[in-house]
């Protein structure tokens, strides 16, 4: 790496200037050594705040459930994000040494955050106010569009009995028009439950084992049962037999516990969740989506759906 032509006095190959000062503390702000004590302290602070943010989230749920009060959603969001901001500042200041560093590096961070703020802020201004639209400009809008969802989602090997060889077959997922992905998932699951249970019945496999259905499918079955009970609709023989043999699933249906979550946030969320957002337009999607899935939602979710959105929402 040696190079020529550095013979003049004005050149700045100043190893002399820095060569001897390169010890532990040499070199100014670029080489600050943060003592291990400080690093450990910072780690401790970070761990504390991590536990604090989890604790705050759990405490809030507990308070809401125990004293039956509604805590506004923004409290939860504000607490969690404030703690995250504090943690990041600590990491940036000490672990990343911004506190001791050339200020220009902090400037880079500040500009970056400005850009992010503009990005988030303006986009939210737009998408949050899309509902503000003059009625006379409105037309019939079907939320979710009307296009078919047909996608090749991969290939699988299929054994062709006639030619005795394996061939690759495209897996095509077709979700019919007007059906959302979620509704489609429910239909598929119901189909699966029916198939499994009726096959088990025909094979005379009674009593039906609980493991016949996965936990996810049991939950779905419980939801369907709860919904049928509300609407007084009959259940198939296979389902009746299954529920008879597996009272736990039936209990799930009665408890109205919805979803397979690890903690029950539904009570809280059902009360505080804002209504489903709709455009303030004549003939908006509510009939469309509501007719198809409204009852399913209603079963487990109670109030809070299909209300027209407040302006400025």
């Amino acid at each position: 790496m040696a190079h020529a032509a550095s013979t003049t006095a004005t050149t700045a190959h100043d190893h002399a200037a820095h060569g001897s000062s390169h010890g532990a503390h040499g070199g100014g702000h670029g080489h600050h050594i943060v003592p291990r004590r400080v690093l450990l302290l910072v780690l401790g602070i970070l761990m504390f705040f991590t536990l604090a943010t989890v604790g705050a989230a759990l405490a809030e749920q507990w308070i809401a459930a125990t004293f039956n009060i509604v805590i506004p959603q923004w409290v939860n969001v504000a607490v969690a994000l404030s703690i995250a901001v504090v943690k990041s500042i600590v990491v940036a200041a000490f672990f990343m040494q911004l506190k001791y560093d050339n200020p220009v590096n902090s400037l880079v961070v500040v500009f970056t955050l400005f850009c992010f703020a503009f990005f988030l802020g303006f986009t939210m201004i737009d998408l949050g106010n899309r509902g503000i639209i003059y009625d006379y400009k409105g037309q019939h809008i079907t939320r979710g569009g009307t296009g078919n969802l047909t996608r090749t989602i991969g290939t699988r090997e299929v054994f062709n009995k006639e030619t005795n060889e394996k061939v690759n077959e495209k897996i095509v997922l077709t979700i019919p028009e007007g059906t959302s992905v979620v509704a489609f998932a429910r239909q598929q699951a119901d189909l699966k439950i029916d198939t499994i249970l009726s096959e088990a019945m025909t094979a005379g496999k009674r009593p039906l084992a609980r493991e016949l259905l996965t936990k996810t499918l049991q939950q779905r079955l419980a939801n369907v049962v709860a919904e049928r009970k509300v609407n007084d609709k009959p259940l198939s023989a296979g389902v009746e037999a299954y529920l008879h043999d597996n009272p736990a699933v039936l209990a799930m249906a009665h408890s109205g516990h919805h979803g397979g979550g690890s903690h029950a946030s539904n009570k809280n969320s059902a009360q505080t969740a804002r209504p489903v957002r709709t455009l303030k337009l004549p003939g908006a999607i509510d009939e469309h989506a509501g007719a198809e899935h409204g009852s399913e939602k209603g079963a487990g979710h109670g109030a809070g759906e299909s209300k027209p959105a407040a302006a400025g929402h």
Partner: protein
């Protein structure tokens, strides 16, 4: 000193590489180079933050529009796994910061130990992520968009939540994997004695990168697991 090779540095060849290190010739000296590298790394981190900003905007917008989908989706994640992963990453952030300190104080053994611990923390993070989160969720059909097949949604828009979950954690995990590759590289170089008080640009740079991966997770953790 007369026996010094003319094209080497001022130090004997027996000195460890980090002491013989000389800055690239367009820099005045090592400090000058160190400052430039650090500014460069910070600018790179700015690009990383803005890369993730797209995902945070995704989160912000969609949560604003469909809070019930996000609340229910969040309730399907186990905060205990998220907490465990947070602790793992925070600890690795500490070890990385400590490895910079070790390089600055010429504690070679400590440097190698810290780099290795950080690497294994990254590995632990991925094992927890894939083993306890991705695997079961894949089996449940809690997948993004058109692949979604989990029947117990409360909202029509839960596939979006899972799209965000997989997208954000996936891109974050890919950063963890890249970071682990960098730590292997650092470890090999540290074995060769490349880092010391006069030259630890790479440790510092990779360390800063790892911290930003950590900071992204510091935000993802409450956003995904705790906000209900």
């Amino acid at each position: 000193m007369a026996t010094l090779p003319a094209d080497k540095d001022l130090l004997a060849a027996s000195a460890p590489p980090h002491e013989r290190y000389r800055a690239a010739e367009h820099f005045r000296d090592r400090d000058h180079e160190f400052d430039a590298v650090k500014l460069g790394v910070w600018l790179f981190l700015a690009t990383e933050v803005l890369l993730f900003s797209g995902l945070f905007v995704f989160y912000g917008i969609m949560r604003m529009l469909y809070p019930e989908a996000f609340i229910h989706g969040s309730s399907l994640l186990d905060w205990r796994i998220g907490l465990l992963n947070t602790i793992v990453l925070l600890y690795s952030s500490y070890t990385v910061a400590d490895s910079v300190r070790c390089a600055q104080t010429n504690d070679q053994a400590g440097l190698r130990r810290n780099i290795l611990i950080t690497f294994f923390c990254g590995l632990a993070f991925l094992i927890i992520k894939f083993g306890f989160e991705y695997g079961p969720k894949y089996a449940d059909g809690k997948l993004p968009g058109a692949f979604y097949s989990y029947p117990n949604a409360v909202s029509e828009y839960e596939p979006l939540w899972w799209g965000l979950y997989w997208g954000a954690t996936g891109i974050h995990a890919s950063h963890v994997i890249i970071g682990m590759g960098l730590f292997i590289w650092l470890y090999i170089r540290s074995l060769k004695g490349h880092f010391g008080p006069k030259h630890y640009n790479a440790v510092e740079g990779v360390g800063l990168y790892w911290h930003i991966v950590d900071i992204v997770w510091i935000f993802l953790f409450p956003l995904l697991y705790l906000i209900h």
